[in-house]
Amino acid sequence: MSLSLRQTGLIAGRELRSLFTTPLYWVSTGVFFLAASTIFVALLFDFARMGPMRTAEDLSGNITIEVIEQLFAVIHFFLLVQIPLLTMRSFAEERRQGTLSLLTTTPVGEWSIVLGKFIAYLTVLGTYLLATLAMPLFASYLSDPEWPVVISCYTALVLAACAYVALGLFYSALTESQVIAAVLTYTTLFGLLILSQLARSLPTAELVRLAEHLTLLHHVEGFIEGQIQSASVAWFLLFSGLCLFLAVRQVESLRWRS
């Protein structure tokens, strides 16, 4: 394993600059914020309509459940849609241009290449999440949301972003086609979501619990309801680590398979 922090940083910087030159990035960023803000405003209006009928204690609990939790469930869904669109070009484009094979003739390690790209996409998503912080802050003017739940929701989104970016990078390294990379990432992520639903129809409670632990939604829902569970943290970290490891092995194999 060869990892250089300087090379990792340079690769992350180059990937970010490259991403900022693509129209897809600006369009998807615009759509993300427009959709998230619209839904936030709609949730707030709904909440405000019921406001006069509530006590102060009810108000605090309800803004968390009716606005914050709903908002973060929607933002999580947007991340599911957006991340494959961003990561699909990460390796596929470099493979098509031939720049990845040029990089592999320099003394740069595969871990530096993969982690550099991983950091670049997490930086982009980190700025998204930072910007969405304006929404719970605005909500706190109207009422008093439960901040531990907000922190738990952000933890869920950061961990989910890590896992989905790692998966997207792996699939992008598998193929020269950006479209195929995106389709594979969507299929896996939505497959895990559907499996979460199917798991609930299993015959025994033990089987349901076991199946839920293996799928995606159970872990995200737990966080959004304000429960930071070590098993869910471990699930996301293991999932991310496995995908990054597979991406590194794929980049290594590109060198020797040709």
């Binding site: 600059r17 241009q97 720049t99 320099t106």
Partner: protein, 317 residues
């Protein structure tokens, strides 16, 4: 500095390389010649760690290209046939990025980038976006990238493709000036380029080395110099007067033609051609044959290349 031993590469049912063995001593510039599909690029890809040989070994600076790939890449500068570039970057930012990839210390990056830009005459285009450059300028950016950090070994695949005549001349001078300082493998289709820049030649055909060595050695393996004699009479008459030399294995007759009573014989001297010419002249005079012309020709690189590659083709078929 560069050793390849019995390299074989098989893709599916196709043997791209078959027992390729060569050696490039330190400071030498090896011209890698061969028709399209001869296996030049595959050999270069193996040396640069982009693909693994099916059989055989290769080493650069004593490091095996498969087992010790990272150490090999520390020594290498590589320009592929079509320089892969990031079109959205400026020339300077691309070279700074590649300097980082090559472990050039941060404090030396600016100096190294400026030096590489000057060497390929691109210092005035440093802040241009790569996507706005011409093909020749992009090729020079690729070459500047290969030169970054003064690598001990340079592997250049068609470095002058797309350049204008003055740029070609500059790049050739640049490569020729590397003699004794860097070890270079230069793949090209342009035969005069090899004659102008290289100290050694390897001719690759159908995945095999057809000939290698200095230019004289390669010319020798392709049949070497030719002595042509023109005389009055039939070709048989000329062969008769040369019979003692042929029997003593000093000469071989390549071919004979007769037109309007004047015959031309093309002779291949086994020993030094210059020493053979007086003996041939004496044989004609003593045999009473009117000698009209006696000349010696050195084969051009084109002749050698065509001869070696067509000979390999006929042997192969």
């Amino acid at each position: 500095m560069i050793q390849a031993h019995a390299l074989t590469k098989i893709y599916g049912q196709t043997r791209c390389l078959e027992g390729v063995t060569f050696d490039v001593p330190e400071g030498e510039i090896l011209g890698f010649l061969g028709p399209n599909g001869a296996g030049k690029t595959t050999t270069m890809r193996i040396l640069t760690g982009q693909c693994r040989p099916t059989q055989g070994t290769a080493a650069i600076g004593g490091h095996d290209v498969v087992r010790d790939s990272l150490a090999v890449r520390e020594l290498l500068g590589y320009l592929p046939e079509e320089a892969p570039l990031y079109p959205e970057m400026t020339v300077q930012s691309y070279l700074r990025f590649m300097a980082g990839m090559k472990h050039i210390p941060a404090k030396s990056v600016k100096r190294e980038v400026d030096k590489a830009l000057r060497e390929v005459n691109l210092d005035k285009k440093a802040n241009r976006l790569i996507q706005n450059l011409s093909k020749g300028q992009r090729q020079r950016v690729g070459l500047a990238q290969a030169l970054l950090g003064d690598p001990k070994v340079l592997i250049l695949d068609e470095p002058t493709v797309g350049l204008d005549p003055s740029q070609i001349s500059e790049i050739r001078q640049l490569i020729a000036a590397m003699k004794g300082q860097r070890t270079v493998i230069l793949s090209t289709h342009i035969l005069p380029e090899v004659a102008m820049t290289c100290t050694r030649v390897a001719v690759l055909d159908r995945g095999r080395i057809a000939a290698q060595g200095t230019f004289d050695e390669v010319a020798g393996s392709a049949g070497g110099r030719t002595i042509t004699v023109a005389f009055r009479g039939s070709g048989k008459r000329g062969k008769d007067v040369l019979e003692p030399l042929i029997q003593n294995e000093l000469l071989k007759i390549k071919d004979s033609t007769t037109t309007d009573g004047i015959s031309h014989l093309r002779l291949a001297p086994v020993e030094d051609a210059e020493e053979m010419r007086p003996a041939i002249a004496r044989a004609f005079v003593e045999g009473g044959v009117d000698l009209l012309e006696l000349s010696e020709t050195t084969p051009s690189l084109e002749d050698v290349f065509l001869k070696l590659t067509s000979r390999e083709a006929s042997l192969g078929s």
